[in-house]
Symmetry: none
Subunit: 202 residues, 4 copies
Amino acid sequence: MNVGKKMLPKQKEKKIKIFEAAREIFAEKGYENTTMSQIAFASNVAIGTIYEYFDNKEELFFYVAAERYETFDKELKIQLSGIKSAFDKIRKYIWFYFYYFQKDPVYAELWLFNIRLNKRLSASNEHPWMQQSGRVIIDMLREGQAEGIVRQDVSLYVIRHMILGSLEHAMTRWLLKGKVYDVLPYSENISDLIIEAIKKRS
Amino acid sequence: MNVGKKMLPKQKEKKIKIFEAAREIFAEKGYENTTMSQIAFASNVAIGTIYEYFDNKEELFFYVAAERYETFDKELKIQLSGIKSAFDKIRKYIWFYFYYFQKDPVYAELWLFNIRLNKRLSASNEHPWMQQSGRVIIDMLREGQAEGIVRQDVSLYVIRHMILGSLEHAMTRWLLKGKVYDVLPYSENISDLIIEAIKKRS
Amino acid sequence: MNVGKKMLPKQKEKKIKIFEAAREIFAEKGYENTTMSQIAFASNVAIGTIYEYFDNKEELFFYVAAERYETFDKELKIQLSGIKSAFDKIRKYIWFYFYYFQKDPVYAELWLFNIRLNKRLSASNEHPWMQQSGRVIIDMLREGQAEGIVRQDVSLYVIRHMILGSLEHAMTRWLLKGKVYDVLPYSENISDLIIEAIKKRS
Amino acid sequence: MNVGKKMLPKQKEKKIKIFEAAREIFAEKGYENTTMSQIAFASNVAIGTIYEYFDNKEELFFYVAAERYETFDKELKIQLSGIKSAFDKIRKYIWFYFYYFQKDPVYAELWLFNIRLNKRLSASNEHPWMQQSGRVIIDMLREGQAEGIVRQDVSLYVIRHMILGSLEHAMTRWLLKGKVYDVLPYSENISDLIIEAIKKRS
DNA sequence: AATGAATGAGTTTTCATTCAT
DNA sequence: GATGAATGAAAACTCATTCAT
């Protein structure tokens, strides 16, 4: 996503201000309980101005969602770079998932409670990043198969359900319980379990 | 849950009519986008009548949620009865999960999109069934440990995150994609993966 | 007023039960904020039963209003009996007003906040007691004029405005301030002022 | 009170339109029986627009109440200025009270039937004008005492009950009877009575 | 006579969106 | 481009009254 393509710096800044306020408030209150005037107030902009940059509330939300993914994805790629073994990559992925969401619970809320379940977003073709969001995992698994260490008898998509499901479930409970404990230690356990599950056995 | 204890049959019927309409519509549109007048219309009852039976919209939603769990739980216990091996129980559980949700997508929507993420419900102590809803899995795992076939080096709660997460993720995607394929076959693959993950190794 | 003329004792009792509950609740919450179901609950009777005895909410309220007046009036007459001098009667009246309302603030609320300002009640000819409610004062004043101690140059109706106004104002403030002080001592001061005002001077 | 400080003229006008409609309707129907949509209709404005200017129905009512007092108070002060004798001031006050309320029965209704009995308004400290509304009378009486013409043996607050009570009672009856006669002549009689009551005697 | 479930018009308030300035 | 006043449909919820039992 590109916030502010074809815009002069000044205007871009305003769009970003709105955008950041929206991100914060959507995360805090959820989509339904966020009002446009809250966003206008927080970004120090008139309500009408929001509509200069975004068609409507939902579109603004989708932009926020897209940006979240891009940021996560960019950092993820950095984290994964240089790692050879598929299993190590997977471990890194899992660790990064917990690390990133615990560090930025605003994003965690946004993703787990609002974005990932949005039907309209899920259906829309304008937001292909969503479909690709799980591509990394498939790729890692395929590499593992090429390495000969990941089993070939189970659909990679099923494995991805297991991986993402485990992570999302753990994080969701963490949020619902009030973020009162440290989730990062889950990383190792879950990695162990998952690698044991997908390891090729002779 | 008991819809309509102490009520005459006629009244009980009306409460059930409202209840069923609510269940359907909550599942279809989610909590926020369901209106009391939609429920009234669908149950062929005046708006005021809903308030004769349920204090407010949220209470009605929670009743629906509770009933969902009880029905699932009751059938689940029947399915599990007579099975000795912990692994077989887990396989049965996973199979039943897919079977039940695919058979009753109204419940699936309700659970996956509304109930499990409801903060107020999650926080409330009046709804202990919610906390107990994952007890079965812990019990099965403990039995497996007693049998000597489930690993002891990983927290059972982490394992539960993996199990429930895998199932929820698979079902959620199925719903978001429009229920256009058969999820039941996932059951075997996921069972295999999970058992491989938790199996005790010497 | 006669609550339950032509009724068998049993039915009369039920009407009285409703009536007493209504009196209490109207006084406590005011007309607008009292609901028929509150009255039904408090009188241990079905809502429909109230409508067996009273046409509607307003009529019930008017009955309560009438009864209040009758009770006050009856006690007042006893208090005044045997007193000869018009001034002493007036003093007694004023004392009794404070005494009665302070003793029964439920009635005070009812009268001062609800009944005396009700336009429909004021207009209705079915409730002649209301018009007569100030008759006693006019009578006392006339006696005073006959005695030759009350001035004749001012309309008795104006004097009555002064007397009732003084009492109502003092009591109203007492209620609005939360009934935290004793109003009875006002009695003597106000009596002094009023007698000084109406005394015939040569 | 200042309706519309910091507002551009156009907006100020709209606020005033709403305000005036509210005043009229509150006076006519009372607080409980006035609806926001009636006010919206009468001021030729959308319902939502009312909420742009006033937080809620009660606040709107309190604004109306405050304005009433200020207008009355301002004119009163003009009327009283230049008068030396306390008794003349009191006579003027009484005359003005009748004059003002008879001239503007909308205000009379508002004050006598709604404002002066409002418990929440009475309790709130945000509306100090209410408490000060009777200050003028106390001041006049004190001046009279300083002049040596007003008795010192009776609490000024009791005297105020008598004065305000007399006026309010007379006006209230006038309204309840349909404003079919002239109240202004009461002014002299009531003044006579009150001065006779409070005159210092040796 | 007694009931109380059922009604639905009516209430206050919210808020995404528009559009004249 | 920027504004924010204005909009009004729509929401949850209330409650006096009715009427079949």
